[in-house]
Subunit: 246 residues, 2 copies
Amino acid sequence: MKNVEVCVTPELVHLYGVENKIVVVVDILRATSCMTTALAHGVISVTPVATLEECKALKDRGYLAAAERDGKTAEGFDLGNSPFTYMDRDLLKGKKLATTTTNGTLAITKSVKADEVVIGSFLNISSVASYLIQQEKDVLIHCAGWKGKLNLEDTLFAGALIDLLKDHFDFENDSAMAAHCLYQCGRHDMFDFLKNSSHAKRLNRLNIYKDIQFCLSRDVYQVVPVLRNGELVDLEPAALEASAGA
Amino acid sequence: MKNVEVCVTPELVHLYGVENKIVVVVDILRATSCMTTALAHGVISVTPVATLEECKALKDRGYLAAAERDGKTAEGFDLGNSPFTYMDRDLLKGKKLATTTTNGTLAITKSVKADEVVIGSFLNISSVASYLIQQEKDVLIHCAGWKGKLNLEDTLFAGALIDLLKDHFDFENDSAMAAHCLYQCGRHDMFDFLKNSSHAKRLNRLNIYKDIQFCLSRDVYQVVPVLRNGELVDLEPAALEASAGA
């Protein structure tokens, strides 16, 4: 049986290894939720970068560029880091997007040797689960965490994804069981559960609660973002069908 | 309010820091359970070492020495790694003990800059909790884990200890909340919960189930093992009372 494991922070990913696996990178608040939203609203690709400078450099090459400072779109950038800023199809359609994220970019960078890197969020959780079930590979759910520590929201997502995979994958390893258990514990009111998380307290503003509520919404979109040469693109529905038939 | 945090593996302890804190080192299966049992049965001190060679060297200097290979007391040693081998008061009383443990020794070594290093297990959980409540210091529960990864049994203990501390400490950080949640999930049948853990599967023998059952028993002993110059000794009841009165 295929195996699914959970790595709760990029600091530990060397212990799990990414080779020959599909790695699902998750940074629920808010990087992977925003990437998913952007691809669902027509961008061609999303390039995650670690710094404002790199993001600015891509903007100078014609990308739409996203960066947030103090809860607002940073000066000179086109979009912020709230998923609600990624819903303007007229602005996004056909464009390439560059976005800043520290924890998310680190998790992606540390996953590049995987057979496939997939971006997961609650917004596309069932599409990601269907894709994983169709493949004949072990899966590592790679949580971006926060500054090297585990965080609740990413681990909670890992547990929710395992819950969808559990009839198709062996998940009897300690990290996966712990994540699944966390999800059992928090599933009935994830928003309330997360209100006390360090992320919510860090961003103790009205807007972040609206963002959190949205980032916890399941299956709003059907995209499956995958990494191709440093860019995240939506896996074509045709490719999905082909892989299902293979 | 004092703060309690959880570090799920020694690989992450640099992110939390141990300075100015009381660090509770936990390696439920079976290092810290054995240390607690040994101190409760009369040994003067327990010296944790990482290798058989170091353990043998201390045996040559007159220590009782504990080491296990293939589920039995290793040749040339006095005790194995099952807590049941640490209950012979006639053998243990007044002796110094050296014991091999890889994950546990690493967690202790990485905690030495703390204000105090305390050894925790279910066997002495309430005594440890009482001690922590009496002190005016932040606490870090440092799980030994397994080869750098988090494990269920140590994280479960962290959650159980937080449950005893929760009226006296702030635990609204993500790792502590996750551990507490894991405990809520597994508390009603910890043995059943752990039967699927990687440790239990690794040691899939009749004896290990007996060991696990015992290592999950609460408050069998009242010792509070603390680190003094590389040796674990039981904190004197007089010292406990003095600190309570301070």
